[in-house]
Amino acid sequence: MSELHTVNKSPFEKSSFDSCMEHALEGSAVLLYEDGVYAAIKGSAAEGKVKMAQGVKFYALGPDLRARGLSDERVTDGIEIVDYAGFVDLAAEHDKVVAWV
């Protein structure tokens, strides 16, 4: 079954992102939102983990990026930016949602 994992914590403060990365299987998706979008910053310590995740698709919530002054160019290549409607689509497309709160 395919999973949508959601991460809403900064990877620099909490372990949620790391824990999610260690449990996300090939074929699953990870949505970064709220403070989780800080894991989407290009050149950050989180970038390597995003790039290393084999077969995992990454998304970041645009409204949360913009609220935090992060333009699209600051986002790690390969991470797709979605809005709330896109969040809903992701939740619907995957068999379940796993929240790493």
């Binding site: 372990s15 449990h23 068999d95 379940k96 949602v97 796993v98 929240a99 790493w100 709160v101």
Partner: protein, 136 residues
């Protein structure tokens, strides 16, 4: 509509007492046990601290809810997965955990262990197999 049986997993990643999440999560498990779903619990990250034995809350004047985990077997909640790496990272082993058991009606009420220590990779697969994952 036909009665649906779903696989429910409760994802426990938080330590007890510092916040109420662990205790209120356990309340959901107890209520949910009445619903005839297939229930399992996963303890990973700081969640493994929830089932450490010897909890004594007298000094902090909070309710010690750890005995409730021992009652889970009576509610037919007997699939408790504990992540090995989470234990090791915290300097713990299975011997530091409460001995949680259940009685198997099909085998003349034989006492069996509820806890199964699994690797991180195994737990990832267990999460994958669920229909619903609760996070608190």
């Amino acid at each position: 509509m036909a009665e649906q049986i779903k696989n429910f997993l409760y994802l426990n990643r938080r330590a007890p007492y510092g916040t109420i999440y662990a205790w209120e999560s356990l309340e959901v498990v107890l209520i949910g046990a009445a619903f005839d779903q297939k229930v399992s619990l996963a303890f990973l990250d700081d969640g493994v601290f929830q089932i450490v034995k010897g909890q004594d809350t007298k000094g902090v004047e909070m309710k010690n809810f750890s005995p409730t985990y021992s009652a889970l077997g009576d509610y037919d909640v007997n699939q408790l997965y504990v992540e090995r790496e989470s234990l090791e990272e915290r300097g713990l082993s299975i011997d530091d955990l409460m001995h949680l058991t259940w009685e198997d009606e099909d085998e003349d009420w034989a006492e069996k262990d509820s806890i199964r220590v699994v690797s991180r990779a195994e737990l990832a697969r267990i999460i994958e197999q669920q229909d619903v994952v609760f996070s608190f």
